[in-house]
Amino acid sequence: MVKSFIPGTYEEALELLDKNEMILMAGGTDLMVKKRNWAGLSPLFDKDVLFISELRELKYIRKSGGFIHIGAMTTLEDILVHRETPEILRKAVLLMASPGIRHIATLGGNIGNASPAGDSLPVLYILDAKIVIDGKGTERMVPIEEFILGPGKVYLESREMIKEIVINDVRFDMIHYEKIGGRKSDAISKISFAGGISYKKGRIDEFRCAFGAVAPTVVRSRKLEASVNGLGAEEIKKSYAELIRPIDDQRSTAVYRKKVCMNILDEFLDKAGEYK
């Protein structure tokens, strides 16, 4: 029999987690779909379940120094309306799911789910997000690209959980966000894109961009970003083209995904030129 635990405090949650391997249940908007069973039967959990979505200690957005700290159980809706939320993250969240889902779905859940189509991820990548992972006495912090290993796979020990997401409060001079889904709301991304650029004396000082849903994990290349100043638009596009290797699936085609990524990058580079 699978047992459910609803800890009253974060402390208690960590203790429970330390004793027992458990499935972490945040808003459940991914989990309940994945574990769905014949209606009338309990969901298909094979381990005990720890309900963490109501832990108040994990619901916050705080600014400190050049960083913004978001508690893992902060809901998407709270992120959407918070004044410290970076504009590009707000844009991404606004296009996620539907209002009802956003009120229960959490940022920690979106990261923990590690879907190639997770819409917060490209934004978190370009904001150099770090994931604070906590277990009893084992707090550690890893960059998001090291945390997400592949579809549904994260770098997390069985007695750990995501406590917080720390993002760089970079203020880009220009941002660009695109989500392409099958319809205008409540759709899984076929492609998503987040980009930001800052200038110094008419030259690009910071160039960052990331593509979602076109590879097993988000595509971001720091190496390429560092070299853009010396490259022309065509060269930049060619380099990204090599990194983007989408697939055919029931939602779209590889050819379309690739082509549209290039078009979006084109638009982004165009816009970058205009800003100069």
Partner: protein, 696 residues
Amino acid sequence: MSDISRSINKQDTNAKTSGSIEYISDMKIEGALHARTLRSTMARARITNIEFPEIPTGYYIVDRSDVPGMNRVKIIFDDMPVFAEEEVRHIGEPILLVVGEDRAVIKEIIDGIKVEYEPLVPEFGYVNSVIHYDYEKGDGEKYFKDGSRIITGEYKTGYQEHIYLEPQGIIGIFEDGKSTVIGSMQCPYYIKNAVVQALGIENDKVRIQQAATGGAFGGKEEFPSLIGCQVAVASMKIGRPVRLIYDRVEDIESTTKRHPSLIKFKAAVDEDNNIRAMKVHVSLDSGAYIGLSGVVLQRAMIAASGVYTIDNLSVSGDVFETNTVPNGAFRGFGAPQMFFAIEMFINHVAQELGEDNLEFRSRHLAKQGEATSTGGHFRDPIIMNKMIDKVMEMSDYKTKRKQYSAKDDFRGIGMSWYLHGCGFTGSGEQKHIKAVVRLRKEKDNTVTVLAANTEMGQGAFTTLRKIAAGVLEIPVERVIYNNPDTDLVPDSGPTVASRTIMIVGGLIARAALKLKEQWVDGEEILIEERYKQPDYVEWDDETLTGDAYPAYSWGVNVAEVEVDKATYEVNIRNLWGVYDIGKAIDERIIIGQIEGGLLQGVAYGTIEVMDTKDGRIRQRNVTDYIIPTACDCAPVETVIMDNPFPLGPYGAKGAGELPLVGGAPAVALAIENAIGKKVMKIPATPEYIMELLEND
């Protein structure tokens, strides 16, 4: 008397919006057992052996050997087995039911059953024709020989899934030698006839009751007959009620959908740029069983010339059997496929001739008195010119069309013209349906409508009550219409084919008139009316010629779109529609039908993607099968023009299917206008639009 079109509260609104209504899955029936279906995992195979785990007491396997009557579901063409026989013919085909009390145990049993298959070669293409029809109007052969200009076109349409509110669900009860089946349905008597055949028992030993139905769109026309038979067989075998309620994924993967089609045209054009003759061929993919496909094919074929008069027509069509889930009834019933194709083709012909498409289409537009595609006649006034003028004025069509055609800014506007024949094709009403309705005046001076037509959100109970109340000149609250129960109501036919208001409402109006004449306060009076085909209707089933329908509803739509240059996504900015449905019995209900139908049609033409891989549907849940959300609804402006049909109640014709028909062509034509490329298939997805733009 107030105008019948003035809206009143819909009978089912309060219960549906407050959540108090009981859908089939909410029904608690004493002692009911659960059932779950074991399905084929092969597209085509011979079942060589089925190995069962140990079945605990209180759990049952129900399969074809339990069917006491005929193991065939009665649906016009009786080729679908109730439970699979030696050969399974599509993935998801029901082989047997596992029935019992505890769902977890049922699942365990299902998981423990091992079916051994000997694979057979499946067919997925347009190869095996199982039904062929053709008809001729005039004699067009010479025009294809004498050097007139020949223009061809080939169009494709995809699947469409109903996504009705609640998945299929049905409960069977067998008591004292009598089988009762309750469920979400459109056609209680279809199920009754099917159950009678499957159980092989007397007609009066089968009773069907409609449960609240949240939506159907044709998906609950013939499919419930299959599961109705299954629970009837199971409850008879076991002696306890059996409920079979589908999950959404199971529903999407294994129930009927709109037939994909391939439609080919060949037109001969004379020196004055008029189409002299046309050859049309329709291919429909029926999936693994024919079911209603032949009738769907007929409706598609009859619509071959759209709203245009083509003097010489040669139309043929085939139903092709494939090893995929069977396709069936869906709002429009073949017409959405054909109207997409013909509207595109007419525009493409105009384009190739270098003619203004409006001018070209107007010249060919059918007029009152002219011959229909099948050589019948448009007897009643056609007010399309007025409707077209109106919709162009509302949408500023001409200015925008000119502007968008000249500019390369990826904006476009398109207009579709269409009609929909009301009621069953040909003499279907007279020969097969033979509708009967009764009105019973009770002692307390209320009047009960006794008819088998169902409420499924479309407003039938409200509008049919309004008709009776209007004729009787009594308050509508005094007219009662309950969910049909075949033990209590006569067979007034199925709730399909845009027939309910015109045909059944017409019978109710006539019965009401009689009742009014015989009215005596405080007495019970029973009035019966039977359908009589209008004298002027002449139809030949063999040659498919004559009056295919007693009346036609008409529509025009304009869609305005914007295509994103980087992502090829279509943003529908505005939709307009003008309709001739005779007379609206309730304006708000009609607007609901129109806006919902139009949106469903537009989505059919753009975002609703469904395909198969190795015979299996790839979009199996509502995450992957996309239907529009509120955010995807463009503003819709609607005008309904009165054009009363003398034989319809208050002049009403059909309106249920019509609004879906024009959506796809209007939006596809707008996309063409925006991107300057011919759209040859729907859904016109961003992926397809990219292809069109890339393959220069």
